[in-house]
């Protein structure tokens, strides 16, 4: 297939002396190599580069005033995101239980979430824990994404991002997580 037809065609008239032509054969191996290399490159760059996203659903702001049932405070866990990649958490009302300062690592945040979830489930007839995330002005976007991711991993459906209260900022200031 890769040979070119060089038979000269037809009868030779006029007795002209012609040099005998050889079949031209192109070696395509190198070309195929190159093509497959490029294919590999394109496959890898297109499929591995698909952007991923974490879904975030915020509570509807207008519905806050109606259709709401009171939630026992003992069921809620509040996470206050402070500066220097640290967060502070407490269960129930601010100040009722001693708040604890932890980091975002697997052994700290996730372990705490699992532990508290179990505790609250045990004391509230298996009802799941509600988590309130309050990012302070000195926390980073990464902190928020990490917290939401941990909540996804631990499978806590009931959570909300809420604006931080001045009381909570005071608490962060007291523990040195807010300047």
């Amino acid at each position: 297939m890769a040979e070119l037809d060089t038979s000269g065609g037809g009868k030779q008239k006029g007795g002209k002396v012609r040099t005998k032509k050889k079949a031209v054969r192109v070696d395509l191996t190198a070309m195929v190599d190159l093509a497959f290399l490029l294919i590999t490159f394109f496959i890898l760059t297109t499929t591995l580069n698909k952007p991923k996203a974490q879904e975030l659903i915020m509570p509807d702001k207008d519905d806050i005033t109606h259709d709401q049932l009171p939630v026992p405070e003992s069921k809620t866990m509040t996470l206050l995101l402070g500066a220097n990649d640290k967060l502070e958490w407490f269960v129930g009302k601010a100040g009722a239980t001693p708040p604890k300062v932890i980091g975002y690592g697997k052994n700290e945040l996730r372990a705490t979430l699992i532990e508290q979830n179990e505790k609250i489930k045990a004391s509230h007839n298996g009802q799941p824990m509600i988590v309130i995330v309050s990012p302070s002005a000195q926390s980073t976007y990464k902190n928020v994404v990490t917290v939401m991711d941990e909540l996804n991993i631990v499978d806590i459906e009931q959570r909300a991002i809420v604006d931080i209260l001045p009381v909570d900022i005071d608490l962060l200031k007291r523990d040195g997580l807010y300047k």
Binding site: A35, T46, A53, Q54, A137, M148
Partner: protein, 202 residues
């Protein structure tokens, strides 16, 4: 005893068919590949273990880095229509040439008043010039609100689909700016959005 002679064959394999197939595949992949577009500002996106894929069309990305907000909506037609709606809102007019330029601009962050001069630049200059970001504040009438609203209108008009919104934030971005963008979206009843993340293991 006469030896059995094995006829020697040429070892050259005809590569033509293979070459055809390889180039056909190559053409397919090149055509289906979406060129990677450079963002006007560098954003180091945070990683998350649980994530979903985001759509390639009917999607708008809000890039947040260094306290600035950049806006992009997928699709040249949607972009053009968005600009038309925005021009109506702000009582500005854009020439067809400017509209065509705008359709090719991916992510941008200039206030409406600077848009004329921004579109007059060559694409190369546009990448170089520092962009101040789209004005956003806590009021009801900030420009980001209008951009997102216009893009949603345009997408609904052209594709009859709800525009999905993604937030691409820099890891080190302090939260209040992100919070302000989220509040702006919530003012127009957009309560679901995607936070664009990188992959990581659990």
């Amino acid at each position: 005893m006469p030896r059995v002679k094995v006829a020697r064959k040429s070892t050259a394999i005809d590569m033509t068919a293979m070459c055809d197939v390889a180039f056909l595949l190559l053409t397919f992949f090149i055509l289906s590949a979406k060129p990677k577009t450079a963002d006007p500002i560098k954003a180091d996106i945070p990683a998350a273990a649980i994530s979903t894929t985001i759509p390639q069309t009917d999607f708008s990305t809000l890039l947040i880095a260094q306290g600035k907000v950049f806006f992009n909506v997928e699709g040249d037609d949607v972009r053009k229509e968005t600009l038309r709606i925005m021009a109506e809102k702000y009582k500005m007019s854009f020439t067809p040439e400017e509209a065509n330029q705008f359709a090719g601009v991916e992510s941008f962050g200039v206030p409406m008043v600077q848009l004329h001069s921004f579109l007059a630049m060559s694409p190369r200059d546009r990448d170089k010039v520092p962009q101040p970001g789209i004005p956003v504040d806590t009021t009801n009438n900030n420009e980001l609100f209008d951009w997102v609203h216009s893009a949603r209108l345009a997408n609904k008009l052209l594709h009859n689909k709800e525009l999905k919104i993604g937030i691409k934030g820099d890891s080190q971005q302090v939260y209040p700016v992100v919070g302000m963008v989220i509040a702006t979206l919530q003012k127009q009843k957009v309560d679901r959005f995607n936070l664009i993340t990188a992959l990581k293991s659990k």
